[in-house]
């Protein structure tokens, strides 16, 4: 919190004379999120300063992915996955947060161009594309919050993003768009890295890069627990 306040003050100082230059002042509260053993999600704050009567829309986009989308179909009474459709690239995480509903802030073209609404995502006009958006929204990985940005006095704004526990690992980009009179007047992109760290990181890296070693280690651990418990219980009884 202290850090945020300090940064806000600095931002104010920097931006007041620089308003004429069409630069957007905004900052992420972190540029790195570590996923540890006890990870249960993380909060990320974007804050900055707007020009008078301007609005802001922030798009936080996770690393691109190939999505294999399957639809359940009913065959002889049971629900079975149909043939998959591949959608690529699609963001593994996608959140749009704005101060007002995006249609009130930007033109329809801008909403489409910058992907500011669920139906504006590149692939969303196909049944499987909208299915993807639906499934990811259920998982909490696609989020659209038209009232998530709080504009405080003196045009300071703050937006809180939640990265859920199942957040994808990789490089995130925060695109911050400033609109005035439905026109885009400034934009800016910040980066954020999400990575497994510590014990978690070593394990998942080992499982990916040295699967044989990982398997042998897993074996030894369970042999140890199984054998150890057998020994202990024999001594106890």
């Amino acid at each position: 919190m202290k850090k945020i306040v300090a940064l806000l003050i600095t931002l104010c100082l920097i931006t007041s004379p620089a308003l004429a230059a069409k630069k957007l002042s905004a900052e992420l509260s972190e540029d790195f999120v570590g996923v540890r053993e006890g990870f249960d999600g993380a909060r990320l704050t974007v804050f900055g300063v707007l020009r008078n009567k301007a609005d802001v829309v922030i798009v936080l986009e996770g690393p691109p992915a190939e999505m294999q989308v399957r639809k359940k179909e009913r065959h002889t009474g049971i629900w079975i996955n149909g043939t998959p459709r591949i959608i690529r690239p699609a963001p593994s995480y996608y959140a749009v947060i704005s101060s007002k509903p995006v249609t009130a802030v930007a033109t329809t073209e801008a909403v489409q161009t910058y992907g500011l609404a669920p139906q504006a995502m590149l692939f969303a006009d196909t049944p499987y594309g909208s299915g993807l958006v639906e499934a990811k929204t259920q998982d909490g990985l696609y989020r659209f919050e038209p009232d998530g940005v709080r504009v405080l006095e003196s045009n300071l704004f703050r937006a809180d993003f939640f990265l859920p526990p199942n957040v994808p690992i990789g490089l995130f980009k925060a695109h911050i768009y400033e609109f005035s009179g439905k026109k885009l007047i400034a934009s800016r992109t910040e980066e954020l890295k999400v990575a497994q760290i510590g014990f978690n990181d070593s394990l998942s890296r080992m499982a990916r890069e040295k699967p044989l070693l990982y398997a042998l280690m897993s074996l030894l651990i369970s042999l140890g627990i199984g054998g150890g418990s057998a020994y202990l219980f024999r001594r106890v009884s």
Binding site: G38, W79, Y128, P165, I225, G226
Partner: protein, 315 residues
């Protein structure tokens, strides 16, 4: 107490997992079964992907079967030669199963195949136990006519039980079991066991144990130990193959469940002596049928979400 599973890439409550391991461990001790066939469906009910549940189960079973096999080893209840021949078959079966698993995963039908297999398996086992235990329970005291046992097994001139194909050229002697049988028979049983481990994450004891008694004609006293001995090697091999081929072994998940189960198995075993066996089997059958029912409901009720997505991050 949330803990992040590094391979499943999700966070779950660690106490729930330890608790689940403990409950299933207690039941294993109580009923003398491995419990894998309950644990995999229960894990998927918790939201853990079926593929990870199956792969991880083989790792966890290594620990439980070692502690079981050690107890039988001390009492010399293991036919080592039979165990190794079963293992030869089951390695082959595991190899087939893991490849099949990989192929079905690519086709997108792995979850369906796992669920259908479980429904079949749980229904058959559950109904058999139910039919067998319920009448005894409700007509307690009334003696049941014991079914006619098959005629005494034939005996070879040198005094060994004559199994299937005992006079053929593939026959092999098992002195510890006092048995002569065609070597292909235990190998085929092993293959079936191996496929069960790789595809379903179960030890397969509940299939192999009766088969070893009635088909192989092994002495019942050696069957449980020999089956566990074989399961130990098979699950170890399956762990390696699953980790290398399907990246589906989550060691954190395995350790949590293992901790729960090793502590509670002995309590279950002790409690078993206080419970009438038919009561135990009846309760077990009801539990198995409930799990099967929940799985069936998942198959036939309209799904809450029609679309499922598999994510592959682009490099």
């Amino acid at each position: 107490m949330d803990i992040y599973l590094p391979i499943a890439e999700m966070s779950v409550d660690a106490l729930w997992l330890i608790g689940l391991g403990a409950v299933v461990g207690f039941l294993s001790g109580l009923f003398g079964v491995g419990g894998g066939f309950l644990l995999t469906p229960l894990l998927t009910f918790m939201g853990i992907p079926a593929t990870i549940a199956v792969g991880t189960q083989s790792n966890q079973l290594v620990g439980t079967s070692l502690s079981g096999a050690l107890a039988h080893w001390k009492r010399r209840n293991i036919d080592v030669r039979m165990g190794f021949i079963l293992t030869m078959g089951s390695f082959l079966g595991t190899g087939i199963g893991v490849q099949l698993f990989k192929w079905l995963k690519q086709m997108g039908h792995i979850n369906l195949v796992i669920t259908l297999s479980y429904v079949t398996l749980l229904s058959v086992v559950g109904l058999m136990m139910f039919w067998e235990s319920a009448p005894r329970l409700f007509k307690a005291g009334q003696r049941f006519r014991s079914r006619k046992r098959s005629a005494k097994p034939d005996v070879t001139p040198d005094g060994l039980t004559q199994g299937w194909g005992a006079s053929g050229s593939m026959a092999i002697d098992f002195p510890e079991s006092n048995l002569r049988v065609n070597v292909m028979l235990p190998i085929v049983l092993g293959i079936i066991g191996g496929i069960l481990v790789a595809m379903l994450g179960v030890g397969g004891g509940f299939v192999l144990v009766p088969a070893m008694i009635y088909i192989l004609r092994m002495p019942p006293a050696l069957v449980n130990g020999t089956s566990l001995f074989q399961i130990l090697f098979t699950t170890a091999f399956a762990t390696v193959l699953q980790a290398v081929t399907n990246h589906s072994v989550d060691v954190v998940l395995a350790v949590l469940m293992l901790i729960g189960s090793v502590v509670s198995v002995p309590f279950g075993a002790r409690f078993a002596s206080k419970l009438k066996p038919e009561v135990a089997r009846f309760l077990m059958s009801v539990l198995i049928l409930l799990v099967a029912g929940k799985l069936v409901a998942g198959l036939i009720l309209a799904p809450e979400h029609l679309f499922t997505v598999e994510v592959k991050l682009l490099p």
